[in-house]
Amino acid sequence: MIAAPAASASVPAVRFAGVVRHFGAVKAADGVDLAVAPGEFFAMLGPSGSGKTTCLRLIAGFEQPDAGHIEIFGETVEGLPPYRRAVNTVFQDYALFPHLSVGENVAYGLRVRGVGRAERERLAREALGLVKLGGMETRRPAQLSGGQRQRVALARALVLRPKVLLLDEPLGALDLKLREEMQVELKGLQRALGLTFVFVTHDQGEALSMADRVAVFNEGRIVQVGPPEEVYERPATRFVAGFVGAANVLSAQEAAALGAPARAASLRPEKIGLIGVNGVAPDGVAALEAEVIDVSYQGPVRRITTRTANGHVIAAAVPAAQTVDVGPGAKVRLAVPLGALHPMEGEG
């Protein structure tokens, strides 16, 4: 786990202090504070319209804050246009220049900086090699597959050795297999180059598997920042519990009824087990009578949606082999380890 950034002596790669950006009545960023550590793989996770993309564009310079302060490696960047910032972006639609070859696309940033032809061709070749596209220099973007275009976009940004690489839903347009490949590769590249990556996604799986830390956005604000395990295991609010991994949320009374402290709490479906009708719950595990309303097979687990006696819906993810005979209408007893109940601070 990467150390928490703010307290360390090093200057944050990206720092937001009370950043506000409104579009008319829409508060895209509504007082965002964050600090991304140098060398960190930082994910901004949230549903569409939560402000994560606006924050990325604020770092890139495509948007300027209405209020607040933004620093990149200690340098104040408010008012600086994108071309004066030491950050580069991999765009969601890749934004490759259709009239230029792959090599020219990658060399574009060097060209506008006045790097000589031979030198920029050498650097472009090197960058393309880095993303495993060596030898593709003369192709046109239109001749490439989606995955290859993504790699060109990556090479084009990396060739400039940015202080921070911004990735806007970088894997959104790829199919599942490619996406998993690219996740591993991106992570490897980031580690090898030691660069700071800030990436935006609405896919919680992607955020959890790639990032050192995740910031969860909702309605223009960051509702929780932390390492993936922390965000997943101990969601700070109802929203985080629901958005990251679809946790059950118990009200204070329901928690109390199970013998836990009387506070709203989240409960991950996979923490819940089933006890046979006559079985006895071990110490520290509460048994909860419920009726099955739906069962869906998901490969390694079955997701069993149940309704408790007082009408509350609770989902459990149970290893598929243990639940062969469970069907809708069946009475079950849910085993809820009290330690798995995580009390939440906010109600947001």
Binding site: A60, F62, P82, N88, H99, Y108, V112, R113, L160
Partner: protein
């Protein structure tokens, strides 16, 4: 594909003939020996009118003036039309739609209205009618053609390309030169050629904005009244067809894969 029925074929042929037979007559009477009236069939064939055209200074003056006007009007239109398109293609601001309508209006207005409006405006501002007033008059509708072509292409250009260019370190000027221009270049070329062709054969606006100068179309109009050397106008007409047809054809091929050449109807 079903085959066209016979009546349909006849109708299509009739339509084509209606459009093009007059042009055949223009060509035919370039070579007639009779100079006062056109009789059919022509009494004899000669190439002497080409020689006559070659030697007449007034024709070459008119051709030269028309070419100069068309070039300048096209140049003005390329600069102003592209700038206007750049401003209006993507920006959102209050009154954007009315403004873009105002840009296209000159091509929808009858030329006679444009002409009289310009004439009165020049008169009120006490600008003497000259070569430059003709250029300005032509530029009013040439801008529309360039604007229409450029705006259509700019709207298809992904906005993230411009952002990507800026992100990679290019300032606004470099982005325009290295990304925008290469992507709208053919649209500008097509718009420019069309503008050139429109200007080259313009009569109405020219009549109202010219001083003593006569452009080629004006010269032809005045020539029709004269009884002698009639085939000379035919020879010149054929030259005009050649000069205006080629750029229009080129514009058509350049934009065929893209959008239609908007505003080609003037």
């Amino acid at each position: 594909m079903t085959r066209a029925s016979l009546p349909l074929k006849i109708a299509a042929l009739g339509g084509l003939a209606f459009l093009h037979v007059p042009l055949v007559f223009i060509l035919l009477y370039c070579f007639t020996t009779e100079e006062r009236s056109y009789a059919f069939p022509p009494p004899g064939f000669t190439l002497k009118w080409f020689g006559v055209v070659w030697e007449r200074a007034d024709i070459w003056q008119a051709v030269g003036l028309s070419l100069k006007v068309a070039c300048l009007a096209t140049a003005v239109a390329l600069v102003l039309g592209t700038l206007a398109a750049g401003a209006l293609a993507r920006a959102r601001f209050f009154g954007r739609e009315p403004v873009s309508l105002l840009f296209v209006l000159p091509i929808a207005l009858p030329g006679i209205v444009t002409g009289i409006a310009l004439r009165q405006a020049f008169g009120l501002m006490e600008i003497p009618f000259s070569f430059w007033t003709i250029v300005l008059g032509h530029a009013t509708f040439c801008i529309v053609v360039v604007y229409n072509n450029a705006v259509a292409r700019l709207r298809r250009l992904s906005p993230s390309l411009i952002e990507a260019s800026m992100d990679l370190g290019a300032d606004a000027f470099q982005t325009f030169r290295l990304v925008v221009l290469p992507n709208v270049g053919t649209a500008l070329l097509a718009g420019g050629m069309l503008a050139f062709a429109l200007s080259f054969d313009e009569v109405i606006v020219t009549t109202f904005t010219a001083g003593q100068q006569s452009t080629l179309p004006i010269w032809m109009l005045s020539e029709l009244i004269r009884p002698r050397q009639r085939p000379v106008t035919n020879v010149v007409a054929v030259l005009v067809i050649a000069v205006t047809f080629l750029p229009i054809l080129a514009a058509y091929y350049l934009t065929r894969e893209g959008e239609a050449v908007a505003g080609s109807g003037k």
